[in-house]
Amino acid sequence: MPPSILLIVLLLLSYAGYQIGKRRSLASVDGKIRELHSLPGFYGLYSALWSIIPALIVTVVWLSLETAWVSGNVISTLPEEMRELSNSRLYLVLNDIKNVVNGVTVATQTDPVILEAAQHYKHLQQLSHILLSVVAITFSLAGIWFSSQRIDKNHRARNAVEKAMDVLMMICSTIAIFTTIGIVFSVLFESIRFFKAVPITDFLFGLEWSPQTAMRSDQVGSSGAFGAIPLFTGTLLVSLIAMLVAVPIGLMSAIYLSEFASPRFRATAKPTLEILAGIPTVVYGFFAALTVAPIIRQTGEYLGFSVSSESALAAGLVMGVMIIPFVSSLSDDVMNAVPQSLRDGAYALGATQAETIRQVIFPAALPGIVGSILLAVSRAIGETMILVMAAGLAANLTFNPFEAVTTVTVQIVTLLVGDQEFDSPKTLAAFALGLVLFIATLILNVFALYIVRKYREQYE
């Protein structure tokens, strides 16, 4: 049976285990619950956990090994000349087979060898699923049997169940760590492979970016250029434009919201501004590409500039709008945290409200505001969709906001969307860019969080 049905069966079995455990505990004291060590439900849970956890572990381990085993087996039955292909070619063949199995490719159009292999693949997969079902259900039943043997009135079921829940919750909380490790490893390993092909200095300091690689080794112009400086400047240029929009608007809004606005105005204006941050970035991308960019181009032509249809300015402006709430909400919180006594002191000396804000509150809140701006910058650097749709693909090394630029995130997307081989520098370059992006935003975030947190503690 397929894994999804197996899962349902296992869940049903564990429910059965719950009932059996509960009944058995009640039977062991003839229904006098007071004589039990734990509540009957705990005995039920005890059985249910024994029934499902070992079976689930077996299933997960089995399924994660299954693909490798089936693929290996299918490859070994392929004809001689196919088996001797290079690893990457073999991977493609295997992919074809999988596509036939999954029904992505229509079976009648493929080569008979692949078709036969696909049959074999399907057969092995079915065999594996049958075996898995048998094993998993056996484990589940054995769990029920084992646990129900141990149930009697002195059995400390509650302690066991609570221990299990504790461990379960602990495992859940380590997922964050595993995610981080996963991110680091997945980008690091591929990046190392990339840096074997392209020296790291060429990547970090090269001035030309044209990631074309040859499909065949004898092709003309087979070596691409992987200098990332144009991407870095493009990213910085767009982020700079975005910050020029977001910081003044965001800061002024934050000041008004925290100091001048009436509570009612604040209660509606703040969440309304925050809608800007909740709009999906594709929507901004569409808006930038179809509405803002043409307006900018027309205005530019009217004023006598030459503006390309995809410009850093259009993408940056729209991204700035998206980022306004990041600046305004965080700065607003920080300014609200400035104690009232500082304001009162300034008023007592005769300062107007504006002077108090400029000369007392703003300096006091400055570290927090800087922190919020840094968070907004890291958001700008990592933003993808607006840039993919509105900033262009041309890797120009320029600071002219009217020209098309490309950014780190845009290149990651263009390198990885579409058909790809996983051992060409072209695709691996995306992971190297991902590594740079991850490190850059991580440093910014850690620094920003450190500043915000350190500042906030001052008044508590």
Partner: protein
């Protein structure tokens, strides 16, 4: 206030503090007002952008909810439908050339189209999906064969655009997608009441298509649904368990400290990096199938977990310690205290946090591009392992299409997406208001 109240000996020699303050007062008050206006201006600009964005999308997209259709009196010619050399009638009907039925009808309507070019222009008025519509009709009701029925069939996207005023008929013929001949025919159809705008049902019921007049969002919406349901099923229990553990049970040591720092950092990692993780781990390493909701929801789970955990911890923190102490005092174990007393009280806050996380996941595009959910998929997905796409990715794909008709469809899809987002956020606000409690 008069100066007399503040006698000062050397008043003539130099201005007093009071004078300085008096003189600068007007300026200071003006500065104060200006400052206020700047603040208000900032908010107004932000809100203006928001309104502009919504208005622009709505103005571009509202026309997509209607589709131009042409009424044709189709003669279901038995000679065409039953002549093929198939074994039985059913098969003959399913394989027959329905396109020629349409062509015959059009030629009868406009007999003046003689040359190949003219005929080609004529046939181009009708969407290529019309023949599928006829086929479906006949397969549903075999008795139609031999009868003449008036059918509303979708017009081609260029006709649709002309009808909605997106193509200007005053432009030179060479710059226009509809030529003069076709214009004349369309005008005749209008005169005969054979062309009308109807509610665009296809937009909500069909999958993606290369033909704008046939393209719909159903496939993407189903993909989004599967992805979101999967994300919720994974991220909510894990997020709640993590929040409960960290807030209620975890000892303070290096490990839990590391977990905390990690969660805060993950919340700020760019989403595209999660896409890279999904590509390298789930697809290349574990061999999960590409372009499927299952990989999508794994990636989005990892992405939204930090948001849910942070919101969950905040709502657990707001439950006062007295609740815990009372439960513990009555003899409940720590686990019972949390699950029977603390968690139910914190649940609304946790749900609010997860709904906001889900709303963010619904609008996410970049990581899904990495795991191949950009494929062109016509079929509507029915399970977690079928290739599919999601609404934001569909918007991205359509935004890239050159046809003018896709602009309005993209805007319409954006409107649908935004409506879902507003509903989700509204639900979160409702929950927060409904269950908000001050201790």
């Amino acid at each position: 206030m008069s100066d007399m109240q503040f006698p000062n000996e050397n008043r003539e020699d130099k201005p007093t503090t009071f004078d300085i303050v008096q003189q600068s007062l007007a300026k200071r008050r003006a500065a104060e007002r200006r400052f206020r206006w700047y603040g208000l201006g900032g908010i107004a600009l932000g809100l203006a952008f928001l309104i502009l964005l919504f208005a622009d999308i709505a103005a571009k997209g509202y026309t997509a909810f209607e589709q131009t259709q042409v009424k044709l009196d189709i003669f279901f010619d038995p000679a065409v439908l039953e002549s093929s050399q198939a074994e039985d009638k059913e098969q003959a009907l399913s394989r027959a050339d329905y396109n020629s039925l349409l062509k015959n009808t059009l030629r009868e309507l406009f007999p003046e189209a003689r040359s190949r070019r003219e005929k080609k222009d004529l046939y181009a008025l009708i969407s290529s999906g019309a023949s599928f519509q006829l086929r479906k009709m006949v397969l549903q009701d075999n008795s139609l064969v031999g009868k003449t029925v008036s059918v509303w069939v979708p017009a081609n996207d260029d006709v649709d655009m002309l009808f909605k005023g997106h193509i200007d008929r005053r432009v030179k013929q060479s710059d226009r997608r509809v030529n003069d001949r076709q214009l004349a025919w369309i005008d005749r159809l209008v005169a005969e009441n054979r062309i009308e705008k109807h509610f665009n049902k296809a937009f909500f019921t069909s999958g993606d298509s290369r033909e704008p007049e046939l393209a719909g969002i159903r496939g993407a919406a189903m993909g989004s649904l599967f992805t979101l349901v999967g994300t919720f099923l994974l991220s909510f229990p894990i997020g709640v368990a993590t929040a409960v553990y960290l807030e209620e049970f975890a000892p303070v040591n290096r490990l839990t400290d590391l977990i905390e720092v990690n969660i805060n950092n993950l919340a700020a990692v760019p989403s595209i990096v999660f896409g890279l993780l999904g590509l390298a781990m789930f697809i290349n390493f574990f061999g999960l199938p590409r372009s499927t909701p299952i990989v999508g929801c794994l990636v989005l789970t990892l992405m939204t977990l930090p948001t849910i955990i942070i919101a969950g911890r905040a709502s657990l923190k707001s439950v006062p310690p007295s609740i815990r102490e009372a439960a513990l005092g009555m003899g409940a174990s720590p686990l019972q205290t949390v699950f029977h007393h603390v968690l139910p009280l914190a649940m609304p806050g946790m749900l609010t946090g997860s709904i906001i996380g889900m709303a963010r996941a619904l609008g996410e595009t970049a990581p899904l591009l990495m795991i191949g959910m950009v494929a062109f998929i016509v079929d509507i997905p029915h399970s977690f392992t079928e290739p599919s796409t999601v609404l934001p990715v569909q918007i991205y794909l359509w935004a890239d299409s050159p046809e003018r008709a896709f602009v309005e469809r993209t805007s319409a899809a954006i409107m649908v997406l935004l409506i879902f987002l507003i509903l989700m956020n509204g639900l979160a606000i409702y929950l927060r208001k409904r269950y908000e409690r001050r201790w």
